[in-house]
Amino acid sequence: MKKIIVIFVVGIVVISAAVWFFYFRLQTNKNIIPTQEVTLSLKWLHQAQFTGNYVAVEKGFYKEQGLKVNLVPYDFKNTSIDSVVNGKADFGIAGADELLLAREKGAPIKAIAVIYKTNPVVAYSLKKSGIIKPQDFIGKTVGIEKGVNVEYLYNAMMDKLKIDRSKIKEVAVGYDAKELLDGSVDVSTGYIINEPNIVKETGQEINTMLVSDYGVNMYADVIFTTENLINTNPDLVGRFLAASLEGWQYSIENGKEAVDLTLKYATNSSLVHQQNMLSESIPLINDGSSPVGWMELSQWEQAYNILLEQKILSKPVNIKDAFTMQFLSNYYLNKNI
């Protein structure tokens, strides 16, 4: 009898040890996924526009996917598209217009997700001016940020509204709302996540007119990579995108913490400015119409048509080759939270 008891106890101990050993190994294996280093080239300087990526780094979402991600801001020499095409970066963030223009020139890059679904380009005026819609620009001085997409999106909007621009005085302005604040223009243009906030931070109330509300929308920030990476290492692309989207979702749900993490990167900016930028950004990213990052063919077609109408594009581009839903579909299909 004693012998049976001893065998039973030893058996239990051996089985428990084996279970513990395999469980421990499994847990250990989870933690020792080899870390792969990749570079994300940002569209602009460090600011809340890229909060989702900062959060993905700081909260360890990239690490969980086995990635070490270097976030490289714009250096005023190479655009994010240049960096990715030249192999200096694996992923980039750029506007849908920039991506289509690059594809027109033969750059083998594809968008894998959109961050800003609603374009942040905006015309803004002081509330006291009473200018609340583009039709009110007649007889006024309008400042335009020249040489960037603000200019042609503004042009597209005015064309769409068939407003007689000969009755409007249009002048070039900088990126800091100075001209509106000093009264040299009645209306200024820029990005709703940035310049209007500068005015608000001075305590003045403003009216904003998003170009997207006037039939001119274009995906602003899209995440892209090379066709080669998509074809040769789709697993890496999928993991990078999953962690990036997780970073954005976390930022949407935890705005305050996300801003704190952003300030680790945007060291020269103020808390208030970054807070305003993120709170203005979130409705443009999470508009309720589709999951974060989700792209629609109709929106790419709209961007393409605007570029053609504004003669920014000179030859046709196959829209369907400019983006892929492969990674977004896979990510949301397997999501379970």
């Binding site: 609603t118 609340i132 819609k133 583009p134 039709q135 769409k160 509204l161 009216n207 904003t208 998003l210 997207s212 509300d213 006037y214 039939g215 929308n217 979702q249 949407i252 749900e253 409705p283 999470n286 508009d287 309720g288 119409s289 589709s290 999951p291 974060v292 989700w294 109709s298 709209q302 949301y332 999501k335 379970n336 939270i337």
Partner: protein
């Protein structure tokens, strides 16, 4: 280890009763759990139906209002004038007539008239005028019939709104524009927050097709329009299949839930309640069962002692009588004290004692007889042994004389022999 009979009896009774109580409790708990779950599902379904019905009626009423507005003679004339560019006040009077009586303004964000090209030509909010909505799904959908688009983000007011839009047609029935009202979700939020039948942890909320939570959550009050949920029951619901489920909620608590597909607003209505709260009455039974076990334990302990002593006492008497018999006292009197197995045992012992007595007395006579026989035999043997001894002594004497004689002869021979 020796355990006496009374303890064995008590332990047996205790074990049987306590094991029975525990088994009955477990069976009761499992069945009650199933019954409770079924009851909860019925309740969740009823709450979901009630709230769903409320939202349906609310939206139907809003649709009725806007459709009635477009059909009203004076208003229709004003709308046609506005859409054909004949209005002298940008439709202010017409829109005013709508908002002053025909349309409930309690949750109205704005009311806009959109021409066939998607341009807002008149609005209760002047800032909306001039905007182009040709790419909006509600504009496309409401060219033929009234459309409801829920939970669309409105940049101007920084809130998610529901857009109800209906086509405006000229006298010939041609589509010339759209009347669209944006309403905030205050009424729907209030319906979701109504807590009748939901106890402490129950709640109802809506999730749209993008998996975004669009009304407030009980455990995360600030999650509306931020949080996303992807779970198998929800995924199935958003595919158009209402279903009951039992799993962890967004907060990690185990819940019973009912996910109801709501085609009118293309959303899923979740009605759920924490399992911990549902099972509180059942869990309350555990201390009651424990108390019952303790009471039964004490009660059976007392009963065990009483019944044990009733059984053990006559057995003890019999045991003492058996000890006396063992010690040779066959004169004791054994009388059965009860008419049961112990009584039978006493009778048997009594019979055994009688038999033993008989055997004992027979044995004494036989021993006496045998002893006499042995004594006689002994005497005979002694006589026989006496004669034999005399003969032996004579034989030994003769032998000794012979030896002496031989030794003398030898001496004589040695003395006469030549030297």
């Amino acid at each position: 280890m020796k355990i006496n009979l009374s303890k064995k009896i008590i332990i047996s009774i205790e074990s049987v009763i306590i094991v029975t109580i525990i088994l009955i409790s477990i069976i009761f708990f499992v069945f009650q759990q199933r019954i409770t779950k079924d009851e909860v599902n019925v309740r969740l379904s009823a709450i979901s139906n009630l709230k769903g019905e409320y939202i349906n009626q609310y939206l139907d009423f809003r649709v009725f209002e806007i459709e009635s507005g477009v059909k009203s003679m004076h208003i229709k004339m004003g709308l046609v004038d506005l859409l054909q560019g004949k209005s002298i006040d940008n439709g202010e009077k017409t829109i005013g007539m709508l908002t002053d009586g025909m349309i409930n303004t309690s949750s109205l964000v704005d009311l806009s008239v959109i021409n066939s090209e998607g341009l807002i030509v008149g609005s209760s909010n002047k800032q909306e005028e001039g905007k182009i909505k040709s790419n909006e799904p509600y504009f496309q959908d409401s060219k033929e019939h009234t459309s409801i688009k829920n939970f669309v983000y409105n940049n101007l007011t920084n809130q998610f709104v529901t857009i109800i839009s209906t086509p405006i047609k000229d006298d010939n029935g041609n589509f010339i524009g759209i009347l669209a009202e944006k309403i905030n979700n205050k009424d729907i939020d209030m319906a979701m927050e109504e807590r009748s039948g939901l106890q402490k942890t129950g709640e109802t909320f809506l999730i749209n097709k993008s998996h975004i939570v669009i009304t407030n959550l009980l455990k995360e009050p600030d999650a509306a329009y931020k949080k996303i949920i992807y779970t198998p029951p929800l995924n199935s619901c958003l595919d158009g299949n209402s279903n009951y489920y039992s799993m962890s909620d967004y907060h990690g608590d185990m819940v019973f839930g009912y996910a109801r597909w709501f085609p009118k607003i293309e959303s899923c209505l979740i009605t759920k309640i924490d399992q911990s709260e549902i099972f509180i009455p059942l869990l309350n039974i555990i201390p009651q069962v424990a108390s019952l076990i303790i009471i039964v334990f004490i009660f059976t302990l007392i009963l065990g002692f009483i019944f044990g002593s009733l059984i053990i006492k006559p057995l003890g008497i019999l045991r003492n009588q058996a000890i006396k018999i063992k010690e040779g006292n066959l004169d004791i009197i054994i009388e059965p004290a009860s008419n049961d197995e112990i009584g039978d045992l006493a009778i048997t012992l009594k019979e055994m004692l009688i038999k033993l007595k008989e055997l004992y007395s027979n044995l004494e006579g036989k021993v006496k007889e045998r002893t006499e026989e042995l004594e006689n035999s002994e005497k005979k043997l002694e006589n026989a042994l006496g004669l034999s001894e005399k003969n032996n002594k004579m034989m030994i004497g003769r032998e000794l004389e012979m030896i002496k004689l031989k030794e003398r002869i030898k001496e004589l021979e040695n003395s006469v022999a030549p030297k």
